[in-house]
Amino acid sequence: MSGARWRVGAASVRGASHVRSGRPNQDAVGVRERAPVAIAVADGHGDARCTRADVGSALAVAVALEVAASFEDPHVQGEALREALAERVVGGWTARVVQHLKAQPMDAREQAVTAGRPPLYAYGSTLLAAFVNGTDIFALQIGDGDLLIADDGVRRVFERDTRLAGHETTSLCQTNARAEVRVARLRAGPGAVILAATDGYANSFAQDADFTRVASDFRALIGSHGLDAVIERLPDMLDATSREGSGDDISLALLATVKA
């Protein structure tokens, strides 16, 4: 990809229904602008027992960006690669959560709400991340949400988990979370755009095709207006989408190639 470089941008908006009900934005989003560039989004579970889901999602994003920053390509494929990344992400997240719990123990009210569940459950979150390492792009996902890649066409990096119905998701807080992490090594064509979004985005569209079109639309917008202009408009776009659509928090991160 000579003559082009990767750039990132992101935004997160509080869902219209969250505003109405007074719930916070439980999503988190983060980017790493310096090489190796990286994007990450996370969706804290809305379950009432996940009292610290917003912290869990923020920690998930932080860990993903740190993993991206210090990642050295093990030059392995398949399951070995998956296990290596899953261990670092899930292990790192769990350690952070334990650290947070130690710093801020649950009070009686939280303990009552989360009764019967391990403390990690309170921090339940999904995670989607992508980062560039050399000529390769590494992507990982646990839980719902979508990683789309748009170059000549649009495709999902990971197909939807057919085991899950609309309101279910796998999570970093599961005991078998390492096994649930999906990892991919990708190559992207010139002008490619990779998009990571929490499920509130896809759920806002009537059909899946309506949703996947966002990737090619963003690619076109970035091509015509530039990434910075698109990022500036992103909160408004996501706000409108949430308001008219899912009402859920929406977080979106973009990884795009731009001319150097």
Partner: protein, 625 residues
């Protein structure tokens, strides 16, 4: 490694510094005069000035506390404004301005303010007197300063400040009496001596015209009574003139202040009105009350916030920084109001603490944004995009709600005839409004309804799913047929394919209500097996309600994704259906995989317990951990 991870310690230090700044600023605020004091002075003038024309007004502009100073200027302004207002209030004959202290600490600002105030009253035909406050350290203070030439400098033509005052005096065609006094303590008690000095409008003439001391003794209280504002309000007719002590001095030596001003006023009165006492003194004690009130309110807010954040498990630093960040702007607003209320009398001192307050507030607010996720000090700040006017189309195709299919599967066999079917009809009809409410609070879903009735065979009551908003429940009637539950479930299974279900639908809800044993056992067995294998049915929320004691508990148990529930009578059925309808619809937020039914079960149980209903079987929720 993000910036927060590196700078966790810096962030904590940042918070504590912010708190320290905030506390110092708070202390500074306690030295200020408050809007309440201002209001009190204006109210007093407006309420009492019209009653009589006062002979004399003494306004204590002394003391180097900025709040007292500002209130005094406000009082002068209030007199001027009242006179210019619709009531055309008469100003006092004489106005004594005690201004000597303040210029020593803030000469430029003080003189500017006095000049502005004098300009306001110069057309009121008031004898303007400049006086020296004789109380406490003042008497010791003023003499050496006069000796050193400090006080006269104020009236010196060479002094810019003094010149501006003298120019005003010249314009008003008034002389000024510079009067100072001192206390004398001897074996008989405390007495005061006043030293009136006439300073002519001609700045060149600074001689002590009288040159003699005018000794006097503070009389008994009956001769020179001191009234509080409340007393004046009760009996305004007793007052033919007044002089006013404003402010709460640092020493809070109210009696001393009043006595001191009394002595000055008495001496002036003696010279101006030939000893006829036409004045009373009023102490506007509002400033202390106002300050304490403000502090009490701020403290109450602070205590509430501290407890709120601490009980939610946040650290002291987070709780304190958030509290300060919340309370400071309130105090800052009061400070700003004071400055604004002075009508041009802007001081240097209030600006600095206000600036500090603004900085401290911003710093604390920044620290408070760490709640709660950034409390660990290592979480990156989310990217916040700026807004521009560039218009762009919204990416993606049509936005729309996803369907949430909801099926009623109702037993209309012979055993349901009579009370049971009537109870079912009433229960479902009554549950619909609650479902519509639930749908409104669940904006991503559009509920579509469809119903199956089964007796001998099963049939759809509607050919296609109907949006909840348009859905009407038509009363079912029970005949004398069998109870072909298997046929009903087989029919339901067909409806779980896509199509007829719309793509991207939410997991369906199936509610089965029956009061007896299924008669098509072979079909039922096949249907239950198929139900357990159908990908959509497996994810569906399946709730069985057993009506009465004869229901087919075993089949209902196998049907449900949670244990079946029993309703013993019509009212229980109505409540149960209402609970099930609401909870299953609302239960659609993001939850951890394979945990949905468990949570639903718990929520229904909670609502049931509240309504003293019972489970068909004990809840034995399986923990995925």
């Amino acid at each position: 490694m993000n910036a927060y991870a590196k700078n966790g310690m810096v962030l904590r230090l940042y918070r504590w510094v912010a708190i320290l700044i905030a506390l110092l600023v708070s202390l500074a605020f306690t030295q200020w005069y408050t809007p309440l004091d201002m209001a009190l002075a204006s109210r007093f003038v407006a309420a009492h000035e019209p009653a009589v024309r006062p002979d004399i007004a003494v306004v204590d502009l002394g003391a180097d506390e900025s709040h007292v100073w500002s209130a005094s200027v406000a009082f002068l302004n209030a007199i001027a404004a009242a006179h210019a207002g619709p009531h055309h209030v008469q100003p006092p004959d004489s106005l004594v301005l005690d201004i000597i202290y303040s210029p020593t600490s803030r000469p430029d600002a003080s003189v500017r303010d006095v000049t502005a105030a004098l300009e306001r009253v110069r057309d009121l035909n008031v004898r303007t007197v400049l006086a020296v406050d004789p109380y406490k350290p003042g008497s010791q203070y003023i003499r050496p300063n006069i000796a050193a030439g400090i006080v006269p400098q104020i009236f010196d033509a060479a002094s810019t400040a003094g010149q501006s005052i003298m120019e005003v005096l010249r314009d008003t065609n008034r002389d000024a009496i510079l009067l100072y006094a001192e206390s004398i303590v001897d074996g008989t008690g405390t007495s005061y001596r006043a030293f009136p000095l006439i300073v002519h409008k001609d700045p060149e003439d600074k001689e002590d015209e009288l040159g003699t001391h005018v000794p006097f003794v503070i009389g008994d209280p009956a001769r020179m009574p001191v009234y509080t504002l409340a007393q004046i309000e009760r009996d305004p007719g007793r007052i033919s003139g007044y002089y006013v002590v404003v402010g709460s001095h640092r020493s809070l030596d109210t009696a001393g202040v009043v006595r001191g001003v009394d002595s000055v006023a008495w001496a002036i009165n003696d010279r101006l009105t030939a000893g006829t006492p036409h004045y009373r003194s009023v102490y506007l004690s509002g400033s202390l009350v106002a300050k304490l009130t403000c502090l009490a309110v701020a403290s109450a807010i602070a205590i509430f916030l501290l407890l709120f954040y601490r009980t939610r498990g946040h650290t002291w630093s987070v709780a304190l920084s958030t509290t300060v960040a919340t309370v400071l702007p309130v105090l800052g607003l009061l400070g700003f109001y004071v400055t604004g209320a002075q009508d041009g009398a802007v001081f240097l001192q209030p600006v600095f603490p206000m600036l500090s307050a603004a900085i401290a507030s911003a710093v604390c607010a920044a620290a408070a944004r760490d709640l709660p996720e950034r409390a660990a000090g290592r979480v990156p700040r989310p990217v916040v995009a700026r807004r521009t006017a560039v218009e762009m189309p919204r990416p993606g195709g049509s936005i729309g709600k996803r369907e949430l299919p909801f099926f009623w599967i109702c037993d209309v066999s012979g055993s349901m005839a009579g009370g049971s079917i009537n109870a079912l009809n009433v229960a479902v009809r009554e549950a619909l409004p609650a479902m519509r409410d639930e749908e409104r609070s669940f904006p991503q879903a559009r509920i579509v309804m469809r119903s199956i009735a089964f007796s001998t065979g099963a049939h759809w009551l509607e050919p296609n799913a109907v949006p909840l908003a348009e859905y009407v429940w038509n009363n079912l009637e029970a005949g004398d047929g069998e109870s072909d539950m298997g046929a009903a479930l087989a029919l339901a299974l067909q409806a779980l394919d896509s199509p007829p279900l719309a793509p991207g639908h939410f997991p369906p809800v199936l509610v089965l209500v029956s009061d007896g044993l299924a008669t098509d056992t072979a079909v039922l067995e096949d249907a239950l097996v198929a139900l357990g294998r159908h990908p959509v049915a497996m994810k569906a929320t399946r709730v069985a309600i057993a009506l009465g004691p004869d229901a087919d508990s075993a089949s209902l148990q196998r049907f449900g994704s949670i244990p079946p529930m029993r309703a013993e009578d019509a009212s229980q059925l109505a409540e149960l259906i209402a609970i099930v309808a609401r909870t299953t619809v609302g239960f659609n937020s993001s939850v951890v995989a394979y945990d949905g039914m468990d949570a639903l079960e718990r929520e229904i149980a909670r609502l049931q317990n509240r309504r003293a209903l019972t489970w068909e079987t004990p809840v034995a929720s399986e923990d995925v951990w």
